[in-house]
């Protein structure tokens, strides 16, 4: 009995080790994508105006348009892209486990993340803002001491709030929509996230308002797997083309025109 059990365990362990130590892929992502005939991009679905889902169930937003643009550059067909919904928490694991080829999902470039992914040149500058109920007296981070502050698990604000307002009690959620529900239901006194999403949420929800001065501005980057320089060079070249051919400016106007005065240009 124990001999059988031991040999089964040994076989399982061997199989596991073999799977884990096999190279993730001998060919580059760009080659894989071209062979496959479609790009698989991780985008947000709860993050206006970068990635949301419209009433018809279609992915829309700035990042989604960038993904379509990449598909057009690769295959001359902007629909040759599969959009996979990701969250701040799972997007890097999705990339690492090859579920997606590229993250176009409001990834703030940080030193920690640089250790595990390859970042493109910045394509957006984002700081953080505070979302509170209309009637709230909160005006800045200083007022959040002793308050319950919703943040997203895996988003940079989790650490930012911990450092800048250690007296706040952080309540962490997986998705933006859950944090907003918590705020509306009185489970949190404030919700801290990227300025652009807070501004959009304040505009869409009459019972909420954005307060505070933008803090800790940092750039967004597109991310590919660590060490994949060929693919990241391609991404950077395409981003530059989007600037020179006017696409970037068009997308900026399309998505950010009404909150433009609050935003920092990269």
């Amino acid at each position: 009995m124990s001999l059988i059990r031991r040999s089964i365990l040994a076989a399982l362990a061997t199989a596991l080790i073999a799977t884990l130590t096999a190279p993730a892929g001998a060919q580059s992502t760009l080659e894989t994508v071209r062979k496959r005939g479609k790009l698989i991009a991780g985008v947000k679905t709860d993050f206006p105006p970068f990635g949301t889902v419209d009433a018809a169930g279609r992915n829309v937003g700035f990042d989604v348009d960038v993904a379509h643009r990449f598909a057009r550059a690769l295959f001359n067909d902007e629909n040759q892209v599969e959009l996979v919904a990701v969250t701040s928490g799972n997007r890097i694991p999705f990339l690492q486990s090859s579920k997606i080829d590229v993250i176009i999902a409001t990834v703030t470039i940080t030193d920690e993340r640089r250790q595990v992914v390859e970042f493109s040149d910045p394509y957006f500058m984002s700081g953080s803002l505070i979302l509170v109920p209309k009637a709230s007296a909160v005006k800045s981070l200083d007022d959040l001491g002793g308050k319950t502050v919703a943040v997203i698990q895996g988003a940079i604000q989790d650490k930012d709030v911990e450092q800048l307002q250690p007296n706040a009690n952080r309540l962490k959620f997986g998705k933006v929509s859950e944090a907003v529900l918590a705020l509306k239901g009185g489970r949190a006194d404030a919700y801290v996230h990227d300025d652009i999403v807070i501004l959009s949420l304040a505009r869409e929800n009459a019972d909420l308002k954005a307060v505070g001065k933008t803090f800790v501005p940092r750039p967004y980057g597109i991310a590919v797997r660590k060490g994949d320089t060929e693919f990241i060079n391609w991404v950077n070249a395409e981003l530059r083309r989007m600037h020179t051919d006017g696409t970037y400016e068009r997308l900026w106007k399309k998505y950010f025109a009404d909150v433009e005065q609050f935003l920092l240009r990269p």
Binding site: T21, P23, K172
Partner: protein, 222 residues
């Protein structure tokens, strides 16, 4: 495209936090277990009452909670009820959903156990002059619990694992902590692997305890 390099030191660094989360997993699961067993037993007994009403009400409860995802129940209690004016703390929200969900299964498990007690036992108890409640208390429930025990044990194991879903409402239990650590250090395999091992330890401890309890039950006189 290199092979994944393991970093087991990440587990060591994360261990105190993981164990803290495991503590809450044990606490919320234990309380939920006791309440779900009591509630399940009570509802199964109520369903035995004469007339259709009690049985139908219990059946409606069982169907409602057994046929909907636990995650939806957690979200309704945590996000939905405050809109109706009932705001439970995150702990109580998670606990309430876990109890209601597990108790629905327990009700069915105990009901089956009670119905498996031979009809002759009722008749014998009645002819011995016991009242209905006495029959339930001294004759039916002790036997029903023994019959139900293996199925009950399975459901309690599920309860421990299902408690991971309260991570979605900001409860800092084991699953939440595993997310929290791996979302920041990206050592997905090591951290979730460590959390899985801790779950195994918790569940193995529980099954040992259940087996000991079952042994005592079987030895005890009726």
């Amino acid at each position: 495209m290199t092979a994944y390099g393991f970093d087991w030191a990440a587990v060591v660094r994360g261990l105190p936090y993981l164990l803290e989360g495991a503590g809450l997993t044990v606490v919320i699961s234990s309380i939920a277990m006791v309440l779900a067993v009591l509630l399940g037993l009570a509802l199964a007994a109520i369903a035995q009452a004469p007339g259709h009403l009690a049985r139908r009400l219990v059946a409606a409860y069982v169907e409602a909670f057994r046929n909907t995802p636990l995650l939806i129940q957690i979200f309704i209690v945590y996000f939905g009820l405050p809109q109706l004016g009932l705001k439970l703390s995150p702990f109580l929200s998670g606990l309430a959903a876990l109890v209601l969900y597990a108790a629905a299964y327990n009700t069915e498990i105990f009901r089956a156990g009670m119905e498996a007690v031979p009809q002759g036992q009722f008749e014998a108890a009645r002819s011995a002059g016991l009242g209905e409640l006495q029959i339930l208390r001294y004759v039916i429930v002790p036997q029903a619990v023994r019959i139900s025990f293996p199925a009950l044990g399975n459901n309690l194991v599920s309860l421990v694992k299902n408690s991971s879903l309260v991570s979605t409402i900001g409860m800092v239990e084991l699953m939440f902590v595993a997310n929290d650590i791996s979302f920041n250090n990206f050592r997905t395999f090591e951290i979730y692997g460590a959390a899985a091992v801790i779950y195994v330890v918790i569940v193995l401890t529980l099954t040992r305890l259940l087996r000991a309890a079952e042994g005592r039950l079987l030895r005890a006189p009726a």
